[in-house]
Amino acid sequence: MPPDLRRPLTALAIRNAVRAGRLTAARACRAALDAIEADEPRLHAYITVCADRAMEAARRLDADPARLARLPLAGVPVAIKDNLCTAGLPTTAGSRMLEAFAPPYDATAVRRLEEAGAIVVGKTNCDEFGMGASTEYSAFGPTRNPIDPSRTPGGSSGGSAATVASGAVPIALGSDTGGSVRQPAGFCGVMGLKPTYGRVSRYGLIAFASSLDQVGILSGTARDAALALQAIAGADAADATAARQPVPDYAAAVEGPATGVRVGVPRALIGEDVDDEVRVRFDEACDALRALGLEVREVSLPHARHAVPVYHLVASAEASANLARYDGVRYGLRAPHDGSITGMYAATRGAGFGREVKRRIMLGTYALSAGYYEAYYAKGQQVRALIRAGFEAAFREVDLVALPTAPTPAFRLGERLDDPVRMYLADLFTAGPSLAGLPAVSVPCGATGEGLPVGLQLVGRMFDEAGLLRVANAFEQDAAARNGVA
C-alpha cells in the first residue's frame, strides 16, 4: 500500500517505500514540489526551485528499478542551501554578486547525495555568503519561520531549516561556520547537525571562513540525519582538508542505547543573556537525559565566554581573504565602472555585496592589517586554542557537552537589523564548538509558552557523530513517546 503523501514522511520511509516499489521517485518528487509551491508565498524558503530538473532526475531513477532498489536515499527529495554549487543551476550564495552565476561543477556533498538516489528539488535562501543569524541579510528577501511567519527562521541556513520544518522535504543541506545550521534548526524545531571540521568535503561550498566552514544537515529525525551523513561524509581528493578518517556506519550507530553516556553542562555559561523559558526547557531536557540513563554533571569551560568575539575576529579575517575573489573579473557581477581596473573592483564590490558582508570584510581586513594583526587575529587564534583546550579537558570527564542551542527563541523579523552586535550574540553557544572543530547537533526540546521551538545542543568529541546521533535519537524517541506522537 503506498504511503500517505499528505503527511510529511521521513527520508527513511520514502526510501523504503521507493525501494519496495510502493512509491515512485516521481510521486515523491511531485509531492515535495507541490508542498513547496503551496508554502512559498508564505515562507520564501527558496531562491530557485528546479521542478523540471527534479522530475527528470526522478523519472531516470524510476526507469532503472534494479539500481533504485540498492540506493540508500532512493527517491528522497532534498533541498540544497544556495551556497553549495549545483552544476548548471543558479548558485547565488544569497548575494547580488552571484545572482546570475551557474557553476560548472557540483559540490561534492551534492554529488554524493544525488549518487545515493536523492533528488534535488531546489536551492534554499540564506544570509549572504553565510554571514548572518536570521536570513534577513539575503539579497533576495528574508525567509519566514513556519511556526510564526512574523519571526525569522534563524540563519544563515534559514531556508533549509524552514523547508524541512514545513514538511516539504525531509532533508536539506546547509552550512555551519559559527552556528548557521544549528541555530536555525533550533528556531524552527528541527534537527541540525554540524559535523566535525573535515568530516564532509568543502569542495563546492562557497567559502566564508576556511578553518570553520562545514556542510551541515537539517532533518526531521536523527535517523534521517544519519542517512544523509552516511552519503556525504568521507575523504575527497578535491578537498585537502577533508578528513581521511574512516566513515563509520551511522545508520547502525544511531539505534544504540544511550545509557551510561556522561553529559557535561557548563552552567557558568548559561547566564542572564539566556531567556527564562529557554533555560527551563534546557533544564527539562537535562532531566529527560537523566531519566534515559545518562549521567548529567557540571563541567567548566572557562574561555568559552569569549567564543563570540573570537569567532567574529577570526571568521571575518578569513572571510576578507575568501571574498577577495569577487572582483568582477572571471565570474559573477561586473558593475558599470570608470574604465579603470581598480574602479571596476570597487564598483563591483560596492554593488555586489550587502551591508553585513561589507562590515565583515572591513572588520577582517582591519584585524589582519599591519599594526593590528598581533592584537586581533593572532590573539583571537590564541584564545581559540584555549577554547579548544577547554573542551578537550571537559572530554576527559564527559562524553558530550550540553548547552541550549541559542539564548533566545526565534526573534521577530527586523528586530536586530540595526544592532549587529546583538545579532552576533545569537551565536553565543554555537561559536565555541565551531572554533574547536567539534561536531554538534541541535535537537528540538519543546517550545516556549508562545509555541516557539527551543533547541538542545549536544557537542561531541572529534569524529564522534555516531555518539551524538545515538543520544539525539534516544532523546527524540523519548520525547515523541512522552508527547504521544507516533
Partner: protein
C-alpha cells in the same frame, strides 16, 4: 565617548579591501566597526602566554597524487560565467599604464 573609528582608518581599510564606501557609508562603518571592536576588546585581556596561535588539531598531511596530466575544467565551461571574454581569454580594463 564615541567608540567610532577615525574616518581616515575606515578609508585606509576600505582601500585595502577594494571597497569604496560613500561618505554616508563611511560614517556608518566608522560607528559600527567601533562598536564591534569594542565588543571584541575583552579578548585582549585573556592570558595567552605560551599559547601557540593556530589550529594544529585541524591539520593533516598534505594530499598528494602522481604528477600526471588529467582532464580538467574545459575552457568553454570556465569562461561561461565570464562577464567579457574573447579568444579564450577573460577581458578586463587595462591594468598596466600606457608608456
Amino acid at each position: 565617548m564615541s567608540q567610532a573609528l577615525p574616518e581616515r582608518e575606515v578609508e585606509r581599510i576600505a582601500r585595502l579591501a577594494r571597497l569604496a564606501p560613500t561618505p554616508v557609508e563611511r560614517r556608518r562603518l566608522a560607528e559600527e566597526l567601533g562598536q564591534i571592536l569594542a565588543f571584541a576588546a575583552a579578548v585582549a585581556s585573556v592570558d595567552t602566554s605560551g599559547v601557540e596561535p593556530g589550529v594544529d588539531w585541524l591539520v593533516q598531511e598534505p594530499l598528494e597524487r602522481p604528477d600526471q596530466p588529467r582532464p580538467s575544467l574545459a575552457a568553454d565551461a570556465a569562461l561561461a560565467n565570464a562577464p567579457e571574454h574573447a579568444d579564450g581569454l577573460v577581458l578586463v580594463p587595462r591594468v598596466l599604464p600606457r608608456d
